[in-house]
């Protein structure tokens, strides 16, 4: 054996990788704390000599930051609520009901999980443009109402494993399937609902391409505005404001993740194993 134990080597690699992986966050924070003159300093300051929070204030006011954040929040919440309920609804059907053609429909569902999403988005945009639904939040309502294959699959897995007696008792009492779903199955599935809500909320909050295509500058989301909003009158990027704006955009997502890790991770790892 070498001088170092195996465990020490593992630690050393992990710490090195961790430092590398977290350093972009560090640089983002450092840049956000520099004023314009310090940003231009050569050689660069690795640490702000006169840290300032002024960038955050400017980042909020150079454009209507909170207004765009509200747009993002509205779209993300709207979509996340609808897609969670719609996916639970469809997931129940795939898990608990039998009908001719079920196998085929389920096969289509599974294969759509692999459908290249960006490719279908541009024609969808063209369609919405023809229907005059561009610049409204209707696309997200429609996407939400039809459910997402991956979330439907999550709910289906959960509902499949619920005991049959639950349903039988309800049928004996004369409950219809809708009532059984709504009163018995849906309330039981709150962990999946939470996972589904968080995942779909953060997809939409982070999504760039759909709002960039579907919404104009006034109605678009923070993700889109952030990418183009911080320039001076000559079109040059105001890096310290970009940093401050990005910090305020990213931190809520990271906090949400840290609070709800369990749901995040179980959702993501299940997707890898069918």
């Amino acid at each position: 054996m070498s001088v170092f134990s195996r465990r020490t080597v593992v630690y050393m690699i992990l710490v090195a990788v961790l430092v590398l992986m977290l350093s972009p966050f560090g640089w983002l924070a450092i840049t956000a704390l520099k004023d314009a003159s310090e940003l231009r300093a050569l050689p660069i300051h690795w640490w702000p000599h006169e840290p300032t929070l002024g960038n955050f204030e400017q980042a909020l006011t150079l454009f209507d930051y909170l207004g765009y954040a509200r747009n993002s929040l509205t779209i993300a919440t709207l979509y996340a609520v609808l897609v969670t309920l719609a996916s639970a609804w469809a997931g129940y059907g795939f898990a608990r009901l039998e009908a001719p053609g079920k196998k085929a429909v389920f096969g289509v569902l599974l294969s759509t999980m692999m459908l290249p999403g960006v490719i279908t988005l541009i024609p969808t945009y063209l369609m919405f443009a023809k229907l005059h639904l561009v610049n409204t939040y209707m696309p997200w309502v429609l996407w939400g109402l039809s459910g997402a294959p991956y979330l439907i699959f999550l709910f289906r897995q959960f509902f499949t494993n619920m005991p049959k007696e639950l349903e039988e008792a309800a049928i004996v009492d004369g409950c219809g399937q809708v009532r059984i779903f709504w009163r018995i199955f849906l309330p039981q599935s709150w962990p999946v609902m939470a996972t589904s809500f968080i995942l779909s909320f953060s997809w939409t909050w982070g999504d760039y391409i759909a709002p960039a295509l579907l919404l104009d500058d006034a109605r678009t989301t923070l993700a889109v505005k952030l990418a183009i909003g911080y320039t001076n009158e000559h079109g040059a990027q105001l890096s310290n404001l970009v940093a401050a704006g990005a910090v305020m955009y990213v931190v809520p997502v990271l906090v949400l993740f840290l609070i709800m890790q369990r749901g995040f991770i179980s959702g993501i790892s299940t997707s890898g194993l069918k």
């Binding site: 231009r40 719609a86 024609p123 969808t124 039809s146 897995q157 049959k164």
Partner: protein, 343 residues
Amino acid sequence: MSTGQLIDQTAGPGAATPSARRPAGPTRRPTSLRTRRAWSFYVFTGPWVLGFLVLTVFPLAYALWLSFTNADGLSDNARFVGLDNYREVLSDPATLDSLWRTGVFTAITVPLTIAAGLLLAVLVNQPIRARGLFRTLLYLPAVVPPVGGALTFKLIFDRDSGAANGALDAAGINGITWLVDPYARYVLIALTLWGVGNGMIISLAGLQDVPRELNEAARVDGASPWQSFTRITLPLLSPVIFFQVITGIIGSLQTFMPLLIALNPTPAGVTSVPESNYFYMIHVFAQYFANGRYGYASALLWVLFAIICVVTFLIFKLSKGAVFYSVEPEPTKRKARTIGGGR
């Protein structure tokens, strides 16, 4: 006598009972339980099917129709041009170059991220202290939304104020203008690798499903750790790796990330994407939103769609026999998997 008791006596609820045999109660319609369950199935899955048809199938068909025309998105007199657009796809050097670039990028980043993710997963699966913390923090960059990551890397690789040139400067090397040719491609690869946590979590989930006894038995029989990893762990992980290969390739071939680290990150700003990052999807955006060539762009989309289908099919075919699905417990019956460090 209630209907409930009636059903109970005949066949038990939930079982398919032919309606002829079941005495119909006064309040019941003469439909069987099976028929009603079937109707319920269509009611429950209908919205998704409808959404799929309207929001996916129809747009794709619409693009297919456009691809045979010279539509420009403005005038209404689009003319049918047959296969002209497809002929142009195959002869346009800009298209072929962008496809080649995208392919090279995919061939580099997909294996790299999977291998690195697997390595990290193995490391954070060791019985070490604070491994839950390591898992969480290593995964953190994968949670960052694309725009957040792109902006961060643009700042790091800024010519004047970025950390990358700061480090080069400290080492006595002249700074590099990173975000233009030919260096922009390295920034893009670095940004892609930053999301390695995703692969790590998926591989970790797979590792936790490998029965411990198998590796222990192998070690007792005198296998080295490396042998037990390559002969037992890796084959059992093959479905998980296979999944990552498929989704990785599909995602990578249609990536528009170059746009986000370009000077003007808008759909119409494709002209600001440096040539080394001018990927296929960027080319598609350029045709749609900069040149207004809807017909040609739709043909490009369908060609990419076909390429992705063929590649996916080939990988499925080629991996037959290399992917083991034998030890696959039911997903939800597995122990709750958290990165919180539970053992």
